[in-house]
Amino acid sequence: MTRPSRLHVPHAPARPGQPPDFSYVHLSPAGAVARPDIGAPASELGPLSLELIRVLDDQHAAVGPWNPNLAIDELQVGLRWMVLTRLYDERMFKTQRQGRISFYVKSTGEEAVSVAAGLALKPTDMLFPSYRQQGLQFVRGMSLVDLMCQLLSNTRDMCKGRQLPVLYHSKARHLFTISGNLGTQCPQAVGWAMASAIKGQDDLAATWIGEGSTAAADFHNALLFASVYHAPAILNVVNNQWAISTFQGFAAAEQRSFASRAPSYGIPGLRVDGNDYLAVYAATRWAAERARRGDGATLIELVTYRSSAHSSSDDPSRYRPKDEPEHWPLGDPIERLKQHLIALGAWSQTQHAALEAELNEQLSIAWKEAVGYGSLSDGPKLHSDLMFEDVFKDMPQNLIDQRAQLRLEQG
């Protein structure tokens, strides 16, 4: 240590006490990025990984070649699910604060990422989310009560009490079981897609991973296998700028976008405004059609911002400026779609307030029902015998014995 270190250490753009700074986020004007043919070779699509696909402009109009031209009612459905996602998040976070559930993760500010993508896909496409895409659960028709019961680990918990809150799944709705281990779902999704191709199915697999988690080797594996076998998959990187306290530069994105990882594997990479409902929808559609044609996988980087804490265990004021969220240059996805609908004359503040009231009412009713099925602390509880099931298809002797032992312990 005689000479000073010349190691490069990435610096978060701003820490507490400093002014927020998003100058590092490269923006393209809405409508400015070309929309290549769906069948174009990946080698011609490099620029898409560096520019930013946007549809909604500052005047709330939908512009440019990526405009998916959705019907009014489709837009309203999207808005509804996004609002539900946000209200659900707020409600459940509060519930955690009150000690009713052990843990919670909000997706505030990232609702378009899941809702728009979810609606752009077919119901039989298989989804492999991370823990921050609850919008997918809603658009796939999961009931509020079912989701809440999972959070409560109660007698109706789809996971039979085995998973942390928010790690939902549904076989019927083609929603894969969410892992607590970051990144593992990505190459699994590619494997699923490979099987789809082998079986001659029309279905694709879509997966979501946080930008911080792209550092995990599994992300590389996903790109690699998708590249080799042209798997019909969509790999979504949700770049919400933060991985707990660590900013995106530590996932090797100080110099290049996450989307640009894809072209180096011969896969198109699209960098998309993740807070622009229409852009997310359009990019997902483009990638889905490409996959269904047999042209393989696409990586979509969704540039967005995690406006809340990482989880109920986190306090972001320790590592980023308190007012950083307000400075995020891509705005709020709900507000933007809402203003677009208002600009189209198809929505109003009154309607919006009514929607919120309606959904809040639904949440209250659902919550009442859900807690009736018990929680970790009160009410009916799952039988602890369940702990020994599903380790294997058939329970082996050691688990039968241990189940008996536990029953004895419990008197």
Binding site: R162, H169, P187, Q188, G191, A195, D390
Partner: protein
């Protein structure tokens, strides 16, 4: 019945399964066109096409993850890891994912992947082509662990593994691929054709997972072992002219505890042996369980023999390997203990 060595028996198992069930697919490094570095998948790509026998990139974690995804989408993947020593890059996908999917999804997303991999030493492979990592998987809940000691069991167990609705780690003692091996590298190689377990039916049959087998019955002492060591134990018992009961564990998970207990209750003495490093090896689980269950029948402490607590060194292959001498010494201690 046909004569098969273990390679042929394993090949036949996969052939039978692929013919019967179009959802069975194979994947692994060099397994397709080339038929695998040990030729276990020889001819299967030619027969079933390159969409059912897939060559893969050199990424063990990618292979396991892809197999999981395929299984979730209704296929029955059989993944080959070229050497057990190279399974660790895939350890996370096996331990955190494959083994836990059924559990965490309450039965909704099981993934019945079979992972085949050659293990064990005795081929001068040095520390990266000789390992026996069964203990590192047996402690993980949710994956079955199997190791055959002969062609008949190899085929029957592999078919059972592929047909099982659970993930299975299928360990193949590579020193036994071509013939039984009694632990003496100086002796000329013996082919499986000279061994009764080299008689293998051509068609479908299974050897159930979770059942040990009595390889030789006896009254003086019980030797519990598996894989290559089954043959070494036979040789040691022969050398000492000992009335040993030798049990081939075959399935480490689930473990056939009752069979082991019955034997030790009968003999009152027990030796546990494996090729893997002794400290923290699967032999510890066997010894711990046997002493719990058979304590009042034991006439001597259970002996545990294994590889030394070092990596498997290239130049000292036979000094490392728990051969008949090490077994004999332990058996002698065991019989002399009063």
């Amino acid at each position: 019945m046909a004569q098969m060595n273990m390679i042929q028996a394993l090949n036949s198992a996969m052939d039978v399964c692929m013919a019967k069930d179009p959802s069975v697919v194979l994947l692994g490094q060099d397994i397709g066109y080339f038929g695998g570095v040990f030729r276990v998948t020889d001819g299967l790509q030619r027969k079933y096409g390159e969409h059912r026998v897939l060559d893969t990139p050199i990424s063990e974690s990618g292979i396991v993850a892809a197999a999981i995804g395929m299984a979730v989408n209704g296929l029955k993947p059989v993944a080959e890891i070229q050497f057990a020593d190279y399974i660790y890059p895939g350890y996370d996908q096996i331990v955190s994912e494959l083994a836990r999917l059924r559990y965490r999804s309450a039965g909704d997303f099981p993934a019945a992947v079979t992972i085949r991999t050659p293990c064990g030493g005795g081929i001068h492979g040095g520390q990266t082509h000789s390992q026996s990592p069964e203990a590192l998987f047996a402690h993980v809940c949710g994956i079955k662990v199997v190791m055959p000691s002969n062609p008949y069991d190899a085929k029957g167990l592999l078919i059972a593994a592929i047909e099982a609705e659970d993930p299975v780690l299928f360990l193949e003692p590579k020193r036994l691929y071509n013939g039984p091996f009694d632990g003496d590298p100086g002796k000329p190689a013996v082919p499986w054709s000279s061994h009764e377990k080299g008689e293998v039916p051509e068609g479908h049959y299974t050897v159930p997972l979770g059942q040990a087998s009595v390889v030789r019955s006896g009254a003086a002492v019980t030797i519990i072992t598996y894989g290559t060591m089954v043959h070494v134990a036979l040789a040691a018992a022969r050398q000492l002219d000992l009335d040993a009961e030798i049990i081939d564990v075959r399935s480490m998970v689930p473990l056939d505890v009752e069979l082991l207990v019955a034997s030790v209750e009968k003999t009152g003495r027990c030796l546990v042996a494996h090729e893997a490093t002794r400290f923290g090896g699967f032999g510890a689980e066997l010894a711990a369980t046997i002493q719990e269950r058979c304590f009042w029948h034991l006439q001597a402490p259970i002996e545990r023999v294994g590889g030394w607590d070092t990596p498997y060194p290239h130049a000292f292959e036979w000094e490392y390997f728990p051969g008949p001498q090490r077994l004999s010494a332990a058996l002698t201690r065991l019989m002399e203990a009063a």
